[in-house]
Point group: D4
């Protein structure tokens, strides 16, 4: 009974409460899933472990778990998705973060296109897809190591690019700090940045922009 639920959030911000599963006590987790499902008719969570999936599934048998994105959700079947958000990654190791972003955006009603493993060291892979990038209302770019992808994309499009540094890399990547600095210093003017590995936040912002464009 410690938590003070922010019940007016959907009305205030347009997005229902999402469960950040990481570190939530077991006793509390299944409970909150049940309650949110009852209230909202659907429920979405991030950073769930396989153990948490088992736990929640015992109470909500229709819950769906994606072990790559670590999302745990039960979604209304008839959801219509509109607009266009493109989610890109530099490498395959960035896909978990990208999927967190993509599925967040999809849960909140955006149509999403994925463009994975198009990092700058093989730039032709990206250039083949410029048309798709230019159709997006918002591009989400997840990249670790040197994080250069965001700047290249930023120079190719007219709509906002949300850059997500990932903790992919080793040594002087400093768990995502290098990619974060790269992206914050982007010479492309339309790049803004969220926290390291924060696919969720990027998905929310992309959805906001996509909603404005679809109005």
């Amino acid at each position: 009974n410690y938590a003070r639920l922010d019940t007016s959030r959907e009305q205030r911000t347009g997005f229902a409460e999402v469960v950040y599963c990481s570190g939530k006590p077991d006793a509390y987790l299944a409970d909150i899933y049940k309650r949110l499902l009852a209230e909202q008719g659907e429920v979405f969570g991030t950073r769930a472990t396989p153990e948490q999936y088992e736990l929640v599934r015992r109470q909500l048998p229709d819950i769906v778990y994606d072990p790559v994105a670590r999302t745990l959700k039960q979604e209304r079947p008839d959801k219509v998705r509109s607009g266009c958000v493109v989610v890109c990654t530099a490498g395959t190791a960035d896909i978990p973060v990208a999927e967190e972003a993509a599925q967040t955006a999809e849960f909140f009603g955006a149509h999403v296109e994925r463009l994975y493993d198009v990092g700058v060291s093989g730039i032709h892979r990206l250039l083949d897809k410029v048309d798709l990038l230019q159709q997006a209302n918002c591009v989400v770019t997840a990249a670790g190591m040197e994080g250069a992808l965001a700047s290249v994309i930023g120079g190719l499009v007219r709509n906002p690019v949300i850059a997500v540094p990932t903790s992919v890399g080793y040594g002087a990547s400093f768990h995502g700090l290098s990619a974060l600095l790269t992206m914050i210093n982007s010479c492309a003017n339309c790049v803004s940045v969220v926290n390291i590995d924060n696919g969720y936040g990027a998905g929310i912002i992309a959805t906001q922009i996509n909603r404005l464009a679809c109005k």
Copy 2:
């Protein structure tokens, strides 16, 4: 003859070339202003010194300089501005960065409302203006020191918040690093961040979002 002008930028990205005056050699500066004015019918520059103003004014007598924002511009008189971007600051010392953002957005066609000196240590000043914040297609928030303003605003609105950390502060503000970290770690989901003091970038992104909303 070193510079390789990116002439297709407006067509590719929707924004004409803007002059980053800082450190440009004198010989080059007036020249580029003249050329861009001829090509575009108007011209916009940032980070200009009073000396650069004098220099350019000798060639372009109608050029306008704002010593607070350090913008140097000649704008088409009949420009129509649409939509709504709100630009906020925590303190008065953040105003130069905020004005760089506001004037960039205005130059590229956005209607801008200013809400300055509404930092969190006197939160009532901000709460009095919640209606205005909620009308914005995008809110730009410039703040130095601890940079907490972005998170508070992020919890009050449904559209994107672009946070600009400023180098305002001393000691452990580390020239804006503290505010940058605050904003990147924002618990409000709709906050994304640009470089320290990068009002220009924030203005561009706000304009992109505002354009999508006005389409």
Copy 3:
């Protein structure tokens, strides 16, 4: 026989020795608990593991363990608590640190009110409780991620705010560094800061201030 007990501490500083259980060898731990209980009639420890609880309980069956706060204590039953310390958190994940502070203050005689999960991204939750905050002789604020809560509270009260950055967060929170910098740079004048996750220290200082106010 390595340790040189600081036996005059209570007389010198007003606070009896508290056991910092983290890393203490098993052999030594039960022993020191017994000795301090004998000398002081009560004993208080922080950062205890469940294993350490089992260990000590075998010797002191009345010892009490709180698995959230990780405190391990045996307290005089008739303790009178006076004054008013308010302990706040931004999120639910900050509660362990907050409870370390609250229980330390209670052990040393302060009356404590808890105000948890009132972070700035849903500011109305805090504003509903301004009256309580203003009654406090001292407010302890535990927050991770961007740590903005301390500044907002600092602008609402006339007595000292002790800010405790927590290691809650991920990515660029850098294990509490981000929250620490936010709090050290607070634009609210009455905020001072203790180490990351140092609920204990915050509880001691709040008690000192509360005692001065109750004199």
Copy 4:
């Protein structure tokens, strides 16, 4: 007309607005001094340059400037000061910061004792004054370089110690970061920390504590 004066501050927090002179435009500075003096009957400012003193003095001939503390103030002559705040420094170079703290506390009604140049490399200088330290309701400790003084004092007193790291030092002092880390990690439980060189904040908090003790 940019600034949004926080006029309810004294009523809300117990401290009238103080002028942070650093970087204030000339046009604005004399004006705000006049207005605050008219409203409050006295006025206090920090971080003033000699040039700002000359500027303000032309309008307010009774203004007083302290070139060491860089305070610029006009104080009610009949002020009664109560309680006891002790302000210490490790070396002579820390005195400007200490004086900012001391004069802030005095302006807001605290009786202040100074204990300067008592750094730990000649510990007898401090030990000779333990009696004075123990009479203080609050001790403010300004120290740069390794900042060890706060911990030593923290072990000798029963009331709070507010530690102010200073930017005194060179090389690996990193402009005060070293002293800040020392103080934040203090093994003495009653030490809390404000920003590097923030004598003003320390003075405010010491005054708050002193007021509680004098009530």
Copy 5:
């Protein structure tokens, strides 16, 4: 008479002594230029100020100064340059560092092609020149801010890329640290990095590689 000249350097390493002019006392500078010119028949220096140029010119009237690259040199007129080193920059502000590299390589016998202002935010400028890049025995890439150019080039060529981070940028570029981290983390396998602004070192290494290729 403090300096211990490393007279066997050319024989040992293949490169004659180069004068690092920065901070050299006036008395010493002209002298060393004269001596090296006498010994080597030519002389090359970096980081020279206009004042140092005037000073040396009084003694060596044929000395040549480049105010952009800050090189100060007298070169044998009949020098034959062979092979191919390409020197690139992301922006125009990186040109001083690039020219230090280019002129160092030319002085030591490499043929150099320049490719300036081809940063990743307008990637077509670079892609137009892929043929030239692929002819190089070594590519030197100078870039500040986010430094992404090195990775893109690294994915297009089969020979080594020497990346020089520059201190160009502001805010979170941290005087070149951001670009250094980007480059050190490059996902392109053929990128190695020298110190921030160290055009000289990059020029030497490019020359070594070019010499091996021309043997």
Copy 6:
């Protein structure tokens, strides 16, 4: 089907795709080994665990694992190696990184000489081998802790030195950051640096240089 294979890499850059085994899902790993072996007639991977070796061996019984270098490879038996690359280490703990470099270079056709445990605190061990160092077309130097070896070698040779900082050390070695900074600041002009523990990258660059020298 997420990964977008960069199939033209060998043709574009001269190096076939290498498998970075770290973190690759089991299902995917054996598959990619089989496919690359089929396509290229040989296959090379780095950062493989013993478990991954067992996994791949079940499908490719001739695969070879080196538990020190953590390479997992199947190499054409008749490979001719040419030129000369020397790989050095400061201590024995740097050998895993050095072997990653050496085996990468050997896989891609370079003749490699090893010179291990010749760190600067016993400088005679290195000086005994100066002849060998001077025969190398490229020297790779792996060192942790203070990383001084690269500078000493850099002063003894005429060809490039590729420095690999290793994460060997403790305390203020900060997982290789100290060695990285040492090497980036090398006073020897021919030293360039790759990421911490990036033996693979160093091996590629050494091979490129060696190939140019052998042409």
Copy 7:
């Protein structure tokens, strides 16, 4: 057969080879212990695990293990120790590092006095022992957290103080960085610093100084 033993070390530096057990492969460890014991008649190692002790004991039954200091040694029984080295700690958690220093010094012939748990927050514990400190030819001071002890001791003695920062602490102690900075910035002139947790190095240097004093 990778390792290149530095066999002339004792003759060159006065100290026989010591085994740094951390991370040594099992196969190699027992072997090197046997060989060094045969050559030197005694052998000393640091950072040994209990498992390594069991391993070595199977071959050398007289080997002695100290689980606190993690030393593993077999010492000549008739060793005479001379001079005086004092080893201090701030808290009990610093004792493992201090014992590494003390036992290193004892192994190499110094007489050692221990003074543990005399940290600055209870300064009387130290002041009671000033006589002992002043008799030392060298004082080794191990302290974590804020590391202030070294400066206080440095102000009380006439001979060198070797400061060892320890990784004891949490939060902003940053694994010993805070203590390292404190000690490097010491205002006491006779303090020099070794790496975090490097008791061994401190023991060697103290022995060197003690030997010079005993000559």
Copy 8:
């Protein structure tokens, strides 16, 4: 009258008060020089500017200023110097720091030999002087940039090496931080480190060791 002179310092520590001239107010400086000269018969100061020299010389005409070392001193003419301290530098730019160390040691009675510009990129310059290094009771090593010299010397001698990182360098030398980290991580066991540019401290410690050896 702020300063609390540490008058018992010479008796307590063996070293008279030295004037740290940097930032001392003019009024105070000449005065303290006169008083210390009267008391001690000689006086020594560091970090003096040419202006401070002129100022003091007006009162003490026999004062001597060294513009390289920035020392300002008047020394007893008949001083006998004993023992042997060797002071080394890596480059010529490190000489100011080295001279501060050398002159401090000489002032306090040590015989000093200088060995300048013997950095590791031309290692033969150092190896020619091994005999001299081995005669020293203590070696002081001043080096910037990568600071590798200390480790090489540490492997060649049996007595302590005091390493002084200097702020010489640019880019990633980070004003001496790189050299400091190199030295703190030295693989040579006898190296301990003082603050960046702290020649004075190194001189004091070298003198202490030299005195012990001469007793």
